[in-house]
């Protein structure tokens, strides 16, 4: 084996167990020296990596994640319960519940950031979604004017969902909704997203699911024409956008309950 061939092989894997490589090195001092130098360089790189010390307390923070995650889920459930139970609005219950929530919040030690509203990046993300709608205006106008009457078959909807790492837990709910459009789309480069259009009471309602980082808080988006809502999910976001007067609450509930992420 000549020197060039030898280098071509060991530069890919200096610690190869390939007998041909090892025999060549054993019988040729020059090749052996090249092998030794290349292996030493890898050991030095590994040494540099090992010299990086992990921050104090990082392991403990990571080990605390299961407990913290459960605490957050409990806190979310408490908030949801309060929102869904108007009968429980006695002032005593309210104060008790607020105090409980505060206690839960104080127990959260994991360094996630909680904001009172969406960040500027999240607002920009919402704007991107609305901008995207104007690229699909032909489809939207076709639905709004009643020209688009074709229903997308369920396998097509399922296929579009699968493409971004999600699936519908139950197909039955969506069979009751006229889906006119279901395609992969690009809202943010490098992230997969799917765009469904269903027929709402005021016209087309777009449902986007994108596998970018979940937003910190659910928030509304709108412009002169559209209104929408960005909903964080476990591994991405769902965005619903319809015409200004469209009531999105029912759709939000339906899709939130039925979309499951599959990593």
């Amino acid at each position: 084996m000549n020197e060039t061939d030898f280098k071509n092989r060991i530069y890919i894997d200096p610690f190869t167990a390939d007998k041909e490589i090892l025999d060549s090195a054993a019988s040729n001092p020059i090749l052996q020296e090249i092998l030794n130098q290349t292996q030493k360089m890898d050991e030095d790189i590994r040494g540099i990596m090992d010299a990086v010390e992990t921050p104090d307390g990082l392991k403990e923070k990571l080990l605390a994640i299961p407990q913290t995650d459960e605490t957050e889920s409990a806190s979310e459930k408490t908030s949801k319960m309060l929102a869904e139970r108007p009968a429980a609005n006695s002032s005593f219950f309210q104060y008790f519940a607020i105090a409980s929530s505060l206690m839960l919040a104080l127990g959260v030690t994991f360094s996630l950031t909680y904001n009172s509203g969406p960040s500027s990046a999240e607002i920009a993300f919402g704007n991107e979604v609305i901008n995207h709608l104007y690229h699909e205006s032909v489809e939207i106008e076709a639905i709004n004017s009643g020209l688009s009457l074709d229903l997308v078959a369920m396998p097509m909807v399922a296929n579009a969902m699968t493409g971004i790492g999600t699936r519908l837990v139950s197909n039955s709910f969506i069979t009751k909704i006229p889906v006119r459009f279901a395609k992969p789309c690009i809202i943010i480069p490098a992230y997969d997203s799917v765009h469904l259009m269903i027929e709402g009471s005021e016209g087309a309602v777009s449902v986007f699911v994108i596998n970018n980082s979940p937003v910190s808080i659910e928030y509304k988006i709108n412009d002169d024409r559209f209104n929408g809502i960005v909903v964080p999910m476990s591994n991405g976001n769902m965005i619903l956008v319809g015409e200004a007067n469209e009531d999105l609450g029912e759709y939000k509930q339906l899709f939130s309950d039925n979309i499951e992420w599959v990593i």
Binding site: Y11, M49, V52, L63, P66, A121, N235, I263
Partner: protein, 181 residues
């Protein structure tokens, strides 16, 4: 190296704890090389393990745990850059400075190598670090980086060639005749 089982225990929490204990240091080191900022790397690692915890049931083959974590980490890093681009301080020399080496020559060589790795284009640096830090095979690196196997081989070859050239132990000429991507 990457196929060592790391998930022990009879329940999800125990399996998660064994995953953390076995791999959190390598995940942090890789995160630091990816984002070049310690606080950010720490956040990335926490976010990575949070997602790992939530999706632990989906990890069917525990031998693939390390590749799985590194894939989540790379995705989180990309998300971070999508949301905002913080000003980064290059880690040049920081890692070296942390270890108290008594041999100045040894330390200088390591610093030179460290800087040379930093200067590598990311397309060459990433597969090299995945191989050295992660112990991943070419196929595993190809899967993590979403490249084909030949491209990974070529990039590994070029990464080491470039480092050798930096150190003057390699003529930049003939060894650069590897197949193209």
């Amino acid at each position: 190296m990457s196929d060592i089982p790391v998930l022990y225990g009879s329940n999800k929490k125990q399996r998660y704890e064994s995953l953390v204990a076995a791999l959190y240091q390598d995940v942090f080191r890789y995160a630091l090389w990816l984002c070049k900022n310690k606080p950010l790397a720490e956040d990335l690692v926490q976010e990575t393990f949070l997602r790992a915890w939530r999706a632990l049931e989906s990890l069917q083959n525990d031998k693939a745990a390390k590749a799985w974590l590194f894939t989540i980490l790379r995705r989180e890093n990309a998300r971070l850059y999508e949301r905002y681009r913080p000003e980064l301080v290059d880690i040049e020399g920081q890692a070296i400075a942390e270890r108290d080496e008594n041999e100045p020559d040894f330390k200088m060589d390591r610093e030179l190598l460290h800087n040379a790795i930093n200067r590598l284009e990311s397309e060459y640096r990433e597969p090299l670090l995945l191989q050295v830090i992660g112990g991943f095979s070419g196929k595993e690196i190809a899967a993590i980086l979403d490249l084909n196997n030949n491209t990974v081989m070529t990039r590994l070859f070029r990464a080491r060639s470039k480092l050798k050239v930096e150190f003057g132990s390699e003529d930049p000429g003939p060894a650069a005749e590897q197949p193209t991507d």
